[in-house]
Subunit: 342 residues, 2 copies
């Protein structure tokens, strides 16, 4: 230990400066907070408080937590690849700030064999899980009986969850397309993880609604290679999309891709088709980039402040041994922009 560290003020240091014993300093600092039979004069108390304040002394959470056996912190577990929507992140920090609670994040690395730190060590009072995580993680949480809330992953009976209403989202999109007279549908997507419940629900609902209207089977375009492929692979995907866009008929396009809206718009420009007269473009998701497009893109977005507030609230209830009260399914809200407005 060098100078840099030893300059940080401790109870011991305050005791040295004041020339009194450590228990007396502790008794002064904890006055009114915990019972103590140590007596001291007002003069001593004033001197201790002055030295503490001057040197920026702060109560130590480690010591306080040792008594309560709680961490006063929650953990957020996320997938390395999927990351977390910026508005979810922002709202998590906002809620934890107003609740005066520490919030820790951990991501599962692609090659990780060990359980997350949150589960290996008793270091958080509860966890929020984002997106689909390995079943082993769910099992470990069950075993150690850690309070947990899962967000936007396939619901299981073992864990409290909050999911987004994908079926209703596709219905809202198709209602818009009906109004605009679209006679064929395209859905673009990325991270086309067949395990993720939303992928399946979105596609099967769109198929069913197309069938119901006597329209052709929707085209599902996987855009993952636009993110991760070679230049040739990127071009191949976008050429396929370009060809689909140029076919006759009015297109209803549901864009569920992450990071791919820019390429999609470039391809629409290239196709020469007019938005919204030839093609209605609707973005389904929570990427803030698309919120700021101008001309504006119609979007279906989850009320993330609400999702986060209710999930954190329910996690706190679980930590305190109470039952969760928040709704398990949240709807998407439609914000109509110029890309579908006729």
């Amino acid at each position: 230990m060098t100078e840099l560290m030893s300059t940080r003020i401790t109870v011991k240091k305050i005791a040295e400066i004041c020339g009194i014993s450590q228990p007396v300093v502790s008794a002064v600092l904890n006055r009114g907070k915990s019972a103590s039979n140590i007596r001291f004069s007002q003069e001593t108390a004033d001197r201790v408080m002055a030295v503490a304040q001057e040197n920026g002394y702060r109560p130590n959470r480690v010591a306080q937590n040792f008594h309560s056996q709680k961490h006063q912190s929650i953990g957020v577990l996320i997938h390395e690849a999927g990351n977390i929507a910026p508005d979810a992140f922002r709202n998590l920090l906002r809620v934890s700030s107003s609740e005066k609670q520490l919030i820790c994040f951990e991501s599962i690395q692609p090659d990780q064999k060990e359980l997350p730190l949150f589960l290996r060590k008793d270091c958080v009072d509860g966890v929020l899980l984002f997106e689909q995580l390995d079943p082993q993680i769910h099992e470990a949480i069950q075993k150690i009986k850690l309070p947990a809330v899962s967000i936007n992953a396939r619901p299981t009976s073992q864990m409290h969850h909050v999911v987004f209403d994908e079926v209703d989202a596709i219905k809202q999109a198709v209602a818009l397309f009906d109004r605009g007279g679209c006679d064929r549908y395209i859905l673009t997507r990325t991270f086309a993880n067949p395990q993720h419940y939303s992928t399946h629900e979105r596609v099967s609902t769109l198929r069913w609604l197309a069938h119901e209207r006597g329209l052709p089977d929707p085209h599902i375009v996987d855009m993952d290679l636009v993110l991760t492929g070679t230049p040739e692979q990127k071009m191949a995907v976008l050429d396929e999309l370009l060809e689909l866009l140029r076919k006759p008929g009015k297109v209803g396009l549901i864009d569920t891709g992450k990071f791919t809206t820019l390429s999609l718009i470039q391809t629409i420009h290239q196709s020469g088709r007019n938005v919204p007269t030839d093609l209605m473009h609707l973005y389904l998701g929570n990427d803030p980039t698309n919120d700021y497009s101008w001309p504006s893109i119609t979007r279906l977005t989850v009320d993330m402040p609400r999702v986060i507030k209710e999930s954190v609230h329910d996690l706190q209830r679980l930590i305190n041994g109470q039952k969760p009260v928040g709704p398990p399914m949240i709807s998407y809200q439609l914000f109509e922009g110029q890309s579908t407005k006729l």
Copy 2:
């Protein structure tokens, strides 16, 4: 407390199940980790370990930390508005995962009067500060002598910092524009915070380089209203930009806006100017959306994995009372795409 909580296994519970005293259980669980003169049979040890494993017992960090008086966690302080670049976030989680260290995040709310929790309570071993924060926060960190590293904010002599080489970035951009024969420059920006050192450095360097070449003064377009304005205000900003783009001469466009590239591309399309023959488009920043554009946008990007790795490493050195060793300035790297390649 209800059933939900009391089912979590503790040393006390294990002792009850095994019918032995708590100190013996602790001695078994901490065997090889801490010195103890409590003796126990192999049979007892086996029984304790079996019960512990069966019930998902985990060592309690609160208890462990109480002995070391460290939290084994670092805090990341960010600005509510500015948020944090997704690749910075991802790399922070990656590094903390490989270092088996907890990482907590806290954002400063716009109306916040109190100091951040990280500074009010002794709950993290050190902090990373992202972007420009209130001088009061710097003062508080000084006062409590909390190890800290500042990232991408105006350097101060009081705190170890990592900044990005903005002057060199603009020089790299102009070298490309020279090669392409650009005879006027436009720079778009958002969050045009005059307090942020990068805003000033970028603009003054571009002015100076234009002057040096005998070119007209660059046009600086503030795009903030595209993010936050009314539809009329958005249109006014983009109309101004459209007019600038349509003027004769070959444009070198530096796009430093956050979330505004999509609108910018829509405006370029509208202007009818050809990229890169009439206009060279270069993005300066770390927004991942732009990495995935196709046709690809030339970009100048900071090596974020390196920035994060070295900042965390230096913070750990400071926590351990050592001097930081990482370079205080990191250069932008050029990735040339189709938007400037002739």
